[in-house]
């Protein structure tokens, strides 16, 4: 961090002494190369200006110079903790435009793997968030649990993080008995672990004092900034793409959307903790109902061409709403691919939400947004 003394024109304390504090781009609390330029009045933030783009890779341009099948692996590298959901959106938009019917077995496996991925992502957040707040141990527990998910997914996809398991019309390969047994065992194993986290961490008085009433974000602010995912559900709004505009087979499955109306960091924490339990419910049901049959559609064109026009597909990723807009001119290569990422939209409200906060509280707020930097920079 570097210090430099300036007079900030127009700040609430104009004429008094403020200074600029650089948080990042290599700060542990930003979890990646995000820089936040903070104008400080003592311990208080008068202005927080996120500086992005350190790992900008121009995925959208890459989308314009390769075929749909060639671009698919790119989508798993945008939010590397939520790859299943991102590939789901891209195969979804192509299936929608071309009119490919996905077999039910593939859809159920997509739900199982997507929800496993969601739990794995939330476990990373859980460990890292508590690390930000000064609690080291939970990270070790969380990564232990996450390892089990990564092993399961590695068995069927061959990858531990950047899965490219969903294909146009279905899946890369069918799930095997080892995966099904392992996932059943994982659900049984994970439930008591969540209870343990509830007892050991959620009720912890230090945690509660660090989070309760801190970083309030109103439902209106979420709407005006387009914040989604656990952020808006921690502000009392039950917006979840899986319920509002259901895709895949989510409308056939029974699950609740955890909503907490307190709008503070604790509410966002509780949303994610509850979501893991709901994901387990979804996995259990999908496993019980998993139909037999093909795992990929019989008729998938060898060369994918979308009819001219534009197509949109949104999914509920671990961090919120992820959407793909593809504009096609009828060729093998997309004319335009737009990626709407949740971390980008969730970060836009940070400047407003952090105004007047103390620095350690702002770090709690930043952690409660659960940012993945490649998801912002794309």
């Amino acid at each position: 961090m570097q210090l430099e003394t300036i007079k900030a024109p127009g700040s609430p304390t104009e004429g008094q002494e403020t200074f600029v504090l650089n948080l990042g781009p290599q700060h542990p609390a930003t979890h990646g190369v995000l820089r936040v330029k903070l104008t400080m009045d003592g311990e208080y933030i008068t202005r927080a200006e996120p500086v992005c783009g350190y790992i900008h890779r121009m995925h959208e341009k890459m989308g314009e110079n390769r075929t749909y099948a060639q671009f698919l692996p790119n989508t798993s590298r945008i939010d590397y903790l939520s790859a299943m959901h991102y590939t789901h959106a891209f195969v979804g938009v192509v299936e929608r435009a071309v009119g490919i019917e996905v077999p039910p077995r593939a859809e159920y496996v997509r739900v199982i793997t997507s929800e496993l991925n969601r739990i794995a992502s939330h476990l990373v957040w859980f460990g890292a968030f508590l690390l930000d707040l000064g609690g080291f141990t939970p990270l070790l527990y969380a990564f232990d649990d996450r390892e089990k998910i990564l092993d399961l997914l590695e068995g069927i996809t061959g990858a531990r993080l950047t899965y490219c398991y969903y294909r146009f019309g279905g899946l890369y390969n069918d799930v095997d008995e080892a995966f099904l047994t392992g996932t059943r065992e994982f659900v049984t194993y994970m439930r008591p672990r969540l209870d343990m986290y509830r007892e050991l961490v959620t009720g912890n008085v230090i945690l509660r004092k660090r989070l309760e009433g801190i970083g309030p974000i109103s439902a209106k602010t979420c709407r005006k900034y387009g914040a989604t995912g656990p952020v808006i559900r921690g502000s009392g709004v039950a917006h979840d793409v899986r319920k509002v505009m259901p895709y895949s087979v989510y409308s056939d499955l029974d699950f609740d959307i955890p909503v907490f109306p307190e709008c503070d960091c604790m509410a966002r924490y509780l949303v994610r903790m509850e979501e893991m339990a709901q994901s387990l419910r979804l996995i259990e049901q999908a496993l019980a109902r998993l139909p037999a049959g093909p795992f990929v559609a019989a008729k998938v064109p060898r060369v994918i061409k979308l009819p001219p026009g534009d197509y949109y597909y949104a999914v509920e990723a671990a961090r919120g709403r992820f959407a793909v807009r593809v504009v096609s001119d009828g060729k093998e290569i997309p004319y335009r691919v737009k990626l709407r990422t949740p971390s980008f939209a969730n970060l836009t409200l940070f400047e407003e939400a952090s105004r007047g906060m103390m620095l350690p509280d702002a770090l709690a707020l930043l952690g409660s947004l659960d940012l993945v930097i490649p998801d912002i920079d794309r």
């Binding site: 900008h56 929608r96 005006k224 387009g226 505009m245 534009d310 709403r321 709407r340």
Partner: protein, 178 residues
């Protein structure tokens, strides 16, 4: 209040056609005279359509004039919509830049697309960041990638590109990419 698709469609109809013919503000580009005088480059037939969400992923597709985007944003803001994203599409052959705004409703299954086109050699239109502050970054990004200038925007400095970037990589004539 949960808006209905029909009410929303009617509200957009009142907004259209472009402000150049206010006498016909009650029509939705249906009148032949409105089609003849419409200054927007987009075809008048596509001004305001209810589309099949199963095929497209959204429910309403509205094409407005560049100076109507703020009014369209206000219309959706009043009905409880949130800003989803803003982006551009470079139609180089037609010498136009399309700006696409996506909005989603928080609780109702409604997804609305608002689009407009500006001349490619003078890509300017008003900002909607005063209605939706979240549009600020989306517009900044669109300026980065396409060089579209959002008039009245508080800060159009590069967001994702390097701070000294003078190029716009998503323009179809950008030759820097492999």
């Amino acid at each position: 209040m949960i808006p209905s698709l029909d009410e929303l469609h009617a509200a957009f109809k009142r907004l259209l056609p472009p402000a150049v013919s206010p006498a016909q503000a009650g029509d939705c580009g249906g009148a032949p005279t409105a089609e003849g005088t419409a200054p927007t480059p987009a075809p008048a037939a596509a001004l305001c359509q209810i589309v099949d969400p199963k095929a497209k992923g959204y429910h309403l597709d509205a094409t407005v004039a560049p100076d109507q985007v703020v009014a369209a944003a206000e219309l959706l803001d009043q009905r409880g919509f949130a800003i989803d994203t803003i982006t551009g599409v470079d139609w180089m052959a037609a010498r136009q830049m399309e700006i696409v705004y996506d909005f989603f409703h928080l609780t109702a299954p409604l997804q609305v697309v608002v689009r407009t086109r500006v001349p490619r050699d003078k890509p300017e239109l008003p900002t909607i960041s005063k209605v939706f502050p979240g549009a600020n970054w989306h517009e900044r990004e669109t300026h980065d990638f396409f060089g579209i200038r959002f008039l009245g925007h508080p800060d159009l400095s590069p967001l994702l590109l390097p701070e000294d970037a003078t190029y716009h990589p998503l323009r179809k004539d950008f030759a820097g990419a492999a």
